[in-house]
């Protein structure tokens, strides 16, 4: 069977599974639509949260990014896992006990203020749209590279699938589809990783092969020592040493961690379980399932980097293997023979370097580089689609609930019936899918830059407001609103200045205190905390019923 047919077959089967699950798990009430009726067992919620969290960027790009950044790539590895500790310990159990539908629900009720609710709604919608545009693009890219469909057609097919199961099943349909999608994506990620680890180090566990010795065919010696040596020869910084300042690494890691703990589409997943204990437990499962991919990614990064340098460095261009040509056609690899010697010079010095390699190749072309069978390559396509679709669905649900529940039911149209609210939720998801699809087909040029924005914003707005709302009974609406606005405005101005107004200045010499725009959310978060606490001192205490509510959510299982 040709690769093309095999890929269609495997992707087709996964799509049929997703649609089957959607039909089986239709939602009939707002509770089912928003939070799957709070009946999701912790294991299933852990799987769904992992699929929800791991996006096209985690699946396709992360190993590649780490492979180019070396040790500094740890900002993403820790930044996108460490937040689950904060979620489990500081946020998830209490918000589960609070027992409503959305994050703006909590902010609005806890701070007894429609203004606070609106700030939360705007942040939730902005952060979610930022993210979802990238997912739709990822769907289009996978379709075009593996199935040779036009990118736009790929986005439309992806929209159709997500629309079908999100509109029909709401959170319930999305949750059980995500369980299936996690299984597809983790299998697709691990199979090539295990093959390559076996091939290069003889150890089937990539996490161990990472620190193991190369087989004789690869010249023996520890993999990481070899990689450091190769880097030194070619003028790159040693792979296992960092280039960025410790302070900047610290701030970026912290911003991603606090951002993770403040992202509405992640928090909302903990509303779907039946109890406080189930919320704690599912956070543990979620991180366990995420960790499987996140500890494999840096291993793949090192394997692929070594393989790539070994294959291309000072080799003849005409004798490159077939995958090189395939990916050259997609423009993800480009070679320019500057000195006309017919050999590929791949070095750190941009004046001499002749090869440009897109970071996405590391995962997408890995099976071909390691000469794995066709079904593995087809599997990677299905895995990439699963990662992108599962994240897109979770985000679209946040957008739809923000509109039908937070904006309409809790604010503008409190008198609508549950049935009407459900209809509005479905209509909202329809428009959200269309807007996301539009951004997928016409991607704004700044998608990469706005990711820093999404995390910075979540870290500097939601995280402090939620934590203070739980751990301080004294915190009032004046403090929380002032803190959120101070945090957002500060973070937004810093990022907009360096990313859009004056990108030429975006380097360590001009950054304030040496903190890059990616890490500024950490300072925004601290500012939010300080402003909130100070303003709170000079303004009236919150009403007694709000204090009672805070005391109530601190203890599991008490009646509301």
């Amino acid at each position: 069977m040709s690769l093309q047919v095999l890929t269609y077959l495997i992707v087709g089967i996964t799509f049929i599974i997703y649609i089957g699950i959607a039909v089986w798990s239709r939602a009939s009430s707002t509770s089912e639509f928003y939070i799957a009726g709070a009946h999701v067992p912790p294991l299933a919620n852990g799987l769904a949260t992992a699929a929800d969290w791991m996006s096209a960027a985690s699946f396709i790009s992360m190993a590649g990014i780490v492979s180019y950044m070396g040790r500094d790539g740890s900002v993403y590895l820790m930044g996108w896992t460490g937040g689950y500790v904060l979620l489990a310990l500081l946020i998830a159990p209490y918000l589960r006990d609070f027992g409503k539908f959305t994050v703006p629900d909590f902010i609005g009720d806890r701070y007894y203020s429609q203004l606070a609710r609106m700030v939360a709604v705007v942040c939730a919608i902005f952060v979610s749209f930022t993210y979802v545009a990238g997912q739709m693009r990822g769907v289009g890219v996978v379709f075009s590279r593996f199935l040779e469909v036009d990118i736009n057609m790929g986005v439309l097919i992806g929209m159709g699938i997500v629309f079908f199961y999100a509109v029909l099943g709401g959170m319930k349909g999305i949750t059980y589809t995500q369980v299936a999608q996690y299984c597809v994506l983790i299998f697709a990620y691990m199979v090539p990783a295990i093959f390559i680890s076996m091939l290069m180090t003889g150890n089937p566990v990539p996490q161990l092969g990472f620190g193991g010795e190369l087989t004789d065919a690869y010249g023996g010696g520890y993999l990481l020592d070899r990689l450091d040596g190769l880097h030194e020869e070619l003028g790159f910084a040693a792979y296992t040493e960092g280039v960025r300042s410790s302070l900047d690494v610290l701030f970026i890691t912290a911003a991603l961690i606090m951002g993770t703990a403040g992202l509405p589409h992640v928090i909302i997943r903990f509303f779907t379980v039946p109890s406080v204990r189930a919320a704690r437990k599912s956070a543990g499962y979620a991180l366990l399932f995420i960790a499987i991919l996140y500890t494999t990614a840096p291993a793949i990064a090192a394997f692929a980097r070594t393989n790539l340098i070994n294959t291309v460095s000072n080799a003849e261009y005409v004798s490159m293997p077939s995958w090189f040509r395939t990916w050259e056609n997609t423009k993800l690899i480009s070679f320019e023979d500057k000195n006309g010697d017919g050999l590929i010079q791949y070095v750190a010095d941009p004046a001499v370097n002749e090869l440009t390699v897109d970071r996405d190749i590391i995962v997408l072309a890995n099976p071909e580089i390691a000469q794995l069978p066709n079904w593995v390559i087809a599997l990677v396509a299905a895995g990439g689609l699963a990662a992108a679709l599962s994240t897109a669905a979770g985000l679209l649900l946040v957008i739809s609930t923000s509109i039908s529940h937070d904006l309409l039911k809790r604010n503008l149209m409190p008198d609508i019936s549950e049935k009407q609210e459900l209809t509005y939720a479905r209509v909202a998801i329809f428009f959200a899918v269309c807007i996301a699809g539009y951004f997928g087909i016409n991607p704004p040029g700044f998608v990469a830059q706005v990711v820093a924005f999404a995390f910075g914003l979540a870290a500097s707005s939601f995280f402090p407001a939620i934590v203070l709302g739980i751990f301080s009974t004294r915190m009032n609406k004046e403090g929380a609103v002032a803190g959120m606005i101070a945090g957002i405005v500060f973070t937004a101005i810093y990022i907009v200045y360096f990313k859009f107004v004056n990108p030429a200045m975006d380097n360590a010499d001009h950054w304030w205190l040496g903190v890059s725009p990616e890490g500024i959310g950490t300072l925004g978060m601290l500012l939010n905390f300080i402003v909130a606490v100070v303003v709170c001192r000079f303004t009236p205490e919150p009403p007694q019923q709000v204090k009672d509510m805070v005391l109530d959510i601190r203890v599991p299982g008490q009646p509301d």
Partner: protein, 101 residues
């Protein structure tokens, strides 16, 4: 807040302080600030600091959440906050798996 709830909350805070201190040391001290000093130690092909930054920290995060789960289970049992939650969870997982009790 009655007295028992107050004690429950204070013990909860104590658990959080311990676990979050470990979380902080692992994430920011061992994996970022003192990573070069730890790199002197080698485990197989790994420099220890590098391993903490790219592997070890993530393992510690997973372990921390499961320790938290265990400690909170004990605390809930001590203060009788467990039964209702656990029963509800069991009922839900039975429903999901289609098992009879």
């Amino acid at each position: 807040m009655n007295n028992t709830d107050n004690l429950y909350w204070q013990e909860n805070i104590r658990i959080l302080k311990i676990l979050l201190s470990i979380w902080f040391v692992v994430s920011f001290l061992m994996s970022v600030i003192f990573v070069d000093q730890l790199d002197v130690i080698r485990i197989g092909g790994f420099k220890f600091g590098f391993w903490m930054a790219q592997q070890g920290s993530i393992y510690v995060y997973v372990i921390l959440i499961f320790i938290y789960l265990k400690m909170m289970d004990n605390l809930d049992r001590k203060y009788h906050h467990d039964e209702k939650a656990i029963l509800a969870e069991e009922a839900a997982s039975r429903r999901a798996q289609g098992e009879s009790p």
